[in-house]
Amino acid sequence: MAAKGRIEINEERCKGCTLCALACPQTIIEMATDRVNAKGYYPALLVDPDVKCTGCALCAVACPDVCITVYRQVPSKTRRAEAAV
């Protein structure tokens, strides 16, 4: 099964340059069209209803403004008691 991930974009730092969208192999990053940030840029948005993000971090490596934090789901080391119910 493909890895699952998600990203958080710091919209206020984003300059709407589109380079993250260009780098994303899943093509799930878009520039907002309905709002601008305080600097006047259309910020990047993760549009991922089908959870296609793999947490590969290519978008974050491509971002010149370090706006993107990337998370990936990994098997938990602590198998909690509730899980066994």
Partner: protein, 262 residues
């Protein structure tokens, strides 16, 4: 009793500690920001942030000392290698680097960078080649390509009038005091990762006292090239890389084992 495998979320990418958590003044899509970030990641990985001093140039990166979460100084135009020399000689246990554009390093500061290397100064230079003077409004740089339009080469740079673009990595590689000289590019994720490894080698050369190291980074200036950030990356690949081939130009014998370690 059934047992379900729980999943938890792990951060796989976040801002390096060596990069201050502030907004930069760089234009949208300018790869100066990427150059900053990979330098900061290398400083984190080497664990040298608290003993690193960066020397900023005159040019768009003039405020780099505010963006790196290290100590920093700001040099007069082109003089960063001279200032870095003084700092390193007084504080040899510190990691000292310069961060310079092509106008700063290859025009007004070409004497300083060459002599820093001939002395074998144990410093590292990050050389951002964007083929133009960004800060002052897009004038021709020594690295501007033949035919490239700038505000001071309208109609395109002419070789009869202004000669040929200077290839700094090749030039610096010919200097005996150079330990590690490389050229890399920032035009896609693969090249960014390759560039980061070269930067790590350069800092490792300094940490091992091997002499002068420089990594030239092909970079963009979408604003003064008057193209979109995405088109600027494509132009680096199609036009800059053929004239400025990527690779290692000087690897001193003592540097080779460090490249295996990185």
């Amino acid at each position: 009793m059934t047992s379900a495998v729980m999943v938890e979320e792990k951060v796989v990418y976040e801002r390096p500690e060596s990069l201050a958590d502030v907004a930069t003044h760089y234009c949208p899509g300018c790869t100066h920001g990427i150059a900053h970030r990979i330098v900061a990641e290398v400083l984190d990985e080497l664990g040298v942030r608290d003993r690193t001093i960066g020397v900023s140039p005159v040019g768009c990166a003039v405020l780099a000392y505010k963006y790196f979460n290290t100590d920093g100084a700001e040099a007069a135009h082109g003089r960063a290698p001279a200032m870095a020399t003084g700092i390193k000689r007084v504080m040899p246990d510190h990691v000292v680097f310069t961060y310079q554009g092509d106008g700063d390093l290859a025009a007004i500061g070409i004497a300083e960078i060459i002599h820093a290397a001939t002395r074998g100064e144990n410093i590292t230079t990050i050389f951002v080649n964007n083929a133009i003077y960004g800060m002052t409004g897009g004038q021709m740089a020594p690295t501007t390509l033949i035919g490239q339009e700038t505000t001071s080469s309208p109609g395109g740079r002419s070789q009869t009038l202004t000669g040929f673009p200077v290839r700094m990595a090749e030039l610096m590689a010919g200097i005996t005091g150079s330990a590690y000289i490389a050229r890399r590019s920032l035009h896609n994720v693969k090249e960014i990762n390759t560039a980061k490894r070269a930067i790590k080698t350069a800092f490792l050369a300094q940490l091992n006292g091997l002499g002068f190291s420089m990594v030239e980074l092909l970079s963009t200036c979408p604003t003064n090239w008057k193209v979109s950030p995405a088109e600027a990356l494509a132009w680096v690949e199609s036009d800059m890389v053929p004239y400025y081939p990527l690779g290692d130009y000087k690897v001193a014998e003592e540097v080779k084992p460090l490249m295996k370690r990185r």
